[in-house]
C-alpha cells in the first residue's frame, strides 16, 4: 500500500543542475510539510496518552476523502468543502477516541497499539464502503505555478506550505497562550497533578485525538489536489509521519516539524541522486535506522534508559 501513493514524480537518471536541485528540494519540502502535519498529530496524541496512534495516517485519508465528498457530492464551494472535510475528520478523531480508546481504562500500551491498528483498518475499510474503491481528486486551490530561481513550483505547493505553517503557528499559540492548550500541556506532564488543579485528563485525551485528526485532515486536504487520494493511502502517510516524528524526536512539536521537513528532503534527494526505484523504501529505511540507532531522534535530547 506504500507504493500505491506516489507523493511526487521523481526524475532520476539525469545529471542534477542547480535549478533542478532546487526543484527537488522544493518537492521535498512540500512533502515534508505534509509529513510534518502528520508527525505533529503523532506527537500530540503521544504526549497526552503515551501511545502511538497507528490510525494517524487514516486521518490524512479522511481529510482528503471527506473534502472530496463535500465538494463533489454535496456540491459545496471548495473552501467550504475543505473546512467541512477537516472538521468532520476532527469529529471522527474524537469519536474514535470515545469509542475505541477510552473504554480501555488501564491504558495498557500493548492493547492501545492493537486497538489503533484495528482502528486504522476499520477507518480505511469504512471509507471504501462509503466512497468507493477508486482514486478521488480535488481541484487545486490555485492553478498554475510560480518560478523560483529557475525552479517551477506549483501554486498548490505554496498552499501546502502555507497551511502547514499556519497550523504550526496556531498550534504553538494555542499551547502557549490559551487555557485549553495549557491544560493539555499540564496533562502531558503530569496527569494526576493536572487532575488536582481541576483539569479532566480524559477530556484532554479526547481533544488531543480531535486535534491530531484535524492536523491529519489538513494534510489530506492540502495534498489531495496534487496526488489524489484513495481509501488505502492512510498507512503510507502514517508510516512516513511516524518516521518524521521519530526522526525529530517523539514528543517535541518543533522536532516533529523539523523531522518532517528533513524526511521530505532526504526522500527527494535520494530520488535525485540515487534512484526512484526504492523511493518508498527510503523513509522506511530512515525509520528503521533512527529506531535502531537513535530512538530519541536527531533533535531530541539524549535520554538514558531508566530502570
Amino acid at each position: 500500500m506504500i507504493s500505491s501513493t506516489g507523493l511526487f514524480q521523481g526524475r532520476h537518471g539525469k545529471t542534477v543542475d542547480t535549478p533542478e536541485l532546487l526543484q527537488f528540494a522544493l518537492a521535498g519540502l512540500k512533502n515534508g510539510s505534509i509529513y510534518a502535519l502528520v508527525a505533529l498529530g503523532f506527537t500530540i496524541v503521544y504526549a497526552s496518552t503515551g501511545v502511538l496512534n497507528f490510525a494517524q495516517g487514516e486521518f490524512v485519508m479522511l481529510g482528503g476523502m471527506l473534502s472530496v465528498w463535500a465538494y463533489s457530492t454535496l456540491g459545496l464551494p471548495l473552501p467550504l468543502a475543505g473546512l467541512l472535510g477537516v472538521l468532520l475528520t476532527g469529529l471522527v478523531g474524537v469519536i474514535f477516541e470515545l469509542l475505541a480508546i477510552r473504554p480501555r481504562k488501564d491504558g495498557d500500551p500493548l492493547a492501545l497499539i492493537i486497538i489503533t491498528v484495528g482502528g486504522s483498518m476499520l477507518l480505511s475499510s469504512l471509507a471504501r464502503h462509503l466512497f468507493g474503491p477508486t482514486e478521488k481528486a480535488l481541484p487545486r486551490f490555485s492553478e498554475g505555478s510560480v518560478n523560483i530561481f529557475g525552479a517551477s513550483l506549483e501554486r498548490q505547493s505554496l498552499w501546502i506550505f502555507g497551511i502547514a505553517a499556519v497550523a504550526v503557528v496556531l498550534l504553538t499559540f494555542m499551547y502557549s497562550y490559551t487555557r485549553l492548550g495549557k491544560a493539555m500541556r499540564a496533562c502531558a506532564i503530569d496527569r494526576n497533578a493536572a487532575r488536582l488543579v481541576g483539569i479532566e485528563p480524559r477530556m484532554m485525551v479526547t481533544l488531543s485525538f480531535g486535534l491530531a485528526a484535524i492536523l491529519g485532515g489538513l494534510a489530506g486536504l492540502a495534498t489531495t489536489p496534487l496526488t489524489q487520494t484513495a481509501f488505502n493511502v492512510g498507512p503510507s502517510f502514517g508510516v512516513k509521519g511516524f518516521a518524521a516524528a521519530i526522526l525529530g524526536g517523539l514528543g517535541n512539536p518543533f522536532a516533529a516539524v523539523l523531522g518532517g521537513l528533513t524526511l521530505g528532503l532526504l526522500e527527494s534527494m535520494s530520488v535525485a541522486f540515487i534512484s526512484s526505484t526504492y523511493k518508498d523504501a527510503i523513509s522506511l529505511i530512515i525509520l528503521l535506522l533512527v529506531l535502531f540507532v537513535r530512538p530519541q531522534g536527531l533533535f531530541g535530547g539524549s535520554s538514558r534508559q531508566k530502570v
Binding site: 506504500i2 497499539i113 491498528v117 484495528g118 523504501a281 534508559q305
Partner: protein
Amino acid sequence: MSGRSLNISRFLTVRAAIVAVLLLVVAVLPLFVTGTDARYVLKVLTFVGINVLIVTGLALLFGYAGQVSLGHAAFYGLGAYASAYVTATLGMPWFVGLAAAIAVTALGGLALAVPSLRLRGHYLAMATLGFGEIMRIVFVEASSITGGPDGFSGIPLPSLGSFVFATPQSIYWLVWGVAALAIMISYNIVSGRPGRSMRALHGSELGAMASGVDLVGLKVRVFVISAVFAGVAGSLYAATVGFVSPSTFTFHFSVVLVAMAVLGGTRSLAGPAAAAILLTLVSFPDIVLPGLSRDILAVVQDWEVDIYALVIILVVLFLPEGIAGAGRRVLGLLRRGVVEPSGSDSGTGQRGDEA
C-alpha cells in the same frame, strides 16, 4: 497429596483425550469432504492450516513473550519466495526449498530482532511494520528473483523423494501435519524452561533480568522461531498454490495475523489456533454454510476487513483474555469437580506431579 496427583493425572488424561479427538477429527476430515466442490473445500481447509501454523508462531512471540510484530506477513513472504526460487528457478526438490525458507526466515528474523532488542511496545511495533513494508517493496522491485508485481508462477507441488503431494487430500494432510508438529513443538517449549522465561519476560522485564534470564538471547530466539514458523508456512503456501505475488504479503495480512493472535488470547496455543480457524473461515463462509447464497457471500467478503478490524478492537476492549480466557473459564468450571483450582492451564505447575 496422592489423591491430588491422581486427580491431576485424571484431568490431564481428559485433556489428552480432547487433544486426541481433535487430532483425529482434523486427520479424517478430508475423507468426509466429497461432492463437486470438494477440491475447493479442501483448498480452503489447507489454507486454514497454513494460517494456524503462522499464528502458532505469533502466539509464542506475542501471546507468551509479549512482543508485538506487525510485520509477520514479511516472513511468510520471505519463506514463500525463498522456497519458490529454489524449487522453480533452481529446480531443486521441495525439501531443499523448505530448508531455504527456514534458513532465509531465520536470518530475516535475526536481522530484525538483533537491532530491535532495545525497542519495546510501540517502537517495536513500528520497527516490525517498517521491516514488513521494506520487504514488501523488495518483493515488488526485485523482479528478477520474485517476478515483481505480477508474481511468481509455476512453483512445483511439494514432494518428498519421489512422492508428490498432488491430491488436495495429501496436501491437506501435509499442511496440517506440519501445523500439528509446530503446535506440539510449541507446546513443549511453552511448558518448559524457555516458555517460563517467555512469560516472565512478558510479566516483568526487570524481574526476568534479576532472575538471570538472558533477555537478549531469549527475545532473539523467540523472534527467530516465530519467523521460521511463518517461513515454513510460506514454503507450504508457495508449493501448494503454485503462485505467489506481493499482494499476499501485505501490512494488511500482518494485521489479520495479529487479529488472530489477539482473539486467541495470551498464554495459549489452542486459543490462537482456534482464532486462526475462525477468522480464516470468515473469508469463506460458504465452507461452513454450504447453502449460502452468492449475494450473502459477496456481502460477507465485502465486509471481511471490517469484521477483522472490529474483532481486534472489540476483543481488546471487552474480551482481553480472548478465546483462551473464555476457554480457561469453562475449563475452570469443569475442573472444579476434578481438581482444586490451580494457577494456569499450561500445566507447568503440575509437571512435578505429572511425572
